[in-house]
Amino acid sequence: MADLPALRYSRPRRLAEALTALARPGACAYAGGTDLLVALADRRPWVRFVREVVDIKALDVARGITRVDGALRIGALVTADELMAHAGVRRDVPALAEAASLTAAPALRRRGTVGGNLVTPHPAGDVTTALVALGAVVEVADGRRVRVLPIAEVLTSQAAAWPRQRLILAVRVPHARRSAFEKLAARGAFGRAFVAVAVAVYRGRVRVALGGVGVRPCLAPATAVALWQGGDVAAALVADCQGTGPARVSAHRLRMAAVLATRAFARARA
């Protein structure tokens, strides 16, 4: 790996300090570092602006997992390791626990965070794919107020375009005890998803999210209907994958997505 570029480092303890620091030109939030440090060392375009890392790991407001009426509030700093081990996550949103457990390898899961998985420009972040299916909303500190944004709005802004004074504090995930996550990767550990499917079954409807078929994980509404009504899942996937990314989704990827979707639906419903 090439060396890191010269960087300034700060570790604010309060949210207001963090937002002030993030407003400085060249400042970038830093949490687990599992993507950011690699991107910095590789001089990737999306981090070319970075001159200062603002270590947000001391911000209590972005930590921990708590219950808030019918949902879990999961701090942006919660790691994949914490997600997969948390009894409430495993019971109330099993798709999220499964996604976390299939992410990377133990030492990386111990560092990689929920917030980082949302903002890093990856087409198939496992945790993000699950959060999309689960209908999560995102708490964002924006200046002096905290706004609650739909997850799709967060995913459509690329990291470099993400307004610097904004910071993701947490995600709120409504309970979906009947949910499951399936992923196909080259190998069990480290494998970035070739394609991934998360399914959440609610009373009277299903929500499905796909990873690996576009720029970022996205909803698959036609696939959800096909699964629910016993329709043609393969045809629905073709419809859902129109225009999700710059390139057409390959036939193999679509076939595998159908297998994973059927499997995840069966497990979620069981």
């Binding site: 790996m1 010269a6 480092y9 700060s10 400085r24 570092g33 440090l37 690699v38 990377a104």
Partner: protein, 181 residues
């Protein structure tokens, strides 16, 4: 206010308080190897894919190539060079006794990755702890056996030494270099 380019940190490194000034853009593994001359931790890939740089941060395995030195202030770091940790010593001896290494490049990371496991961890648990550590020489079977052996050595240490002395790679205790403090 501008954030600093260098930062003075104090850590507990292998049980000893250590103070050092680092550039903010230094990774933990570079601090260990280049500044503190602890070259046991290896840099295989530098991007979190191989596990060769695994060290313990407050007792939990992390990849030192993906941790900034600036952020470990006030924390406890354990590397393969720790001579006071009984389980590390048993693991080192067991890796030698089982022939669980050839070139040895991955060995420090392997050993640190399984350091937190219970002595009676079964093979599946050991394998799960090692999925992030690549070895290109041995095929892993001997590595898993070595970890099991180190666990058994802890369970029944009575009588004669659990491992043949000739195979015990534990270095003799030497006076520490004062420059590291």
């Amino acid at each position: 206010m501008t954030a600093p380019l260098t930062i003075a940190i104090g850590v507990e490194l292998n049980g000893r308080p250590t103070r050092v000034r680092v550039a903010a853009a230094t990774t933990l593994v570079d601090l260990l190897r280049d500044t503190l001359a602890l070259t046991g931790s290896k840099v295989g890939c530098g991007v979190g894919d191989c596990g060769a740089c695994t060290v313990l941060l407050d007792g939990a395995p992390v990849l030192a190539c993906l941790v900034l030195a600036a952020e470990v202030a006030g924390r406890r770091i354990t590397t393969i060079e720790d001579r006071d940790d009984d389980r590390l010593a048993r693991l080192r001896a067991a890796f030698v006794a089982e022939g669980a290494l050839q070139c040895g490049f991955c060995t420090p990371g392997m050993i640190l990755a399984v350091r937190p496991l219970a002595d009676d961890a079964d093979a599946a648990t050991i394998r799960a702890a090692l999925v992030g550590n690549l070895c290109r020489c041995t095929g892993y079977a001997a590595i898993v056996r070595a970890v099991e052996r180190a666990g058994r050595a802890a369970v029944k240490p009575a009588g004669r030494a659990a491992e043949p002395r000739a195979n015990d790679p534990r270095p003799r205790r030497r006076p520490r270099k004062p420059s590291r403090g």
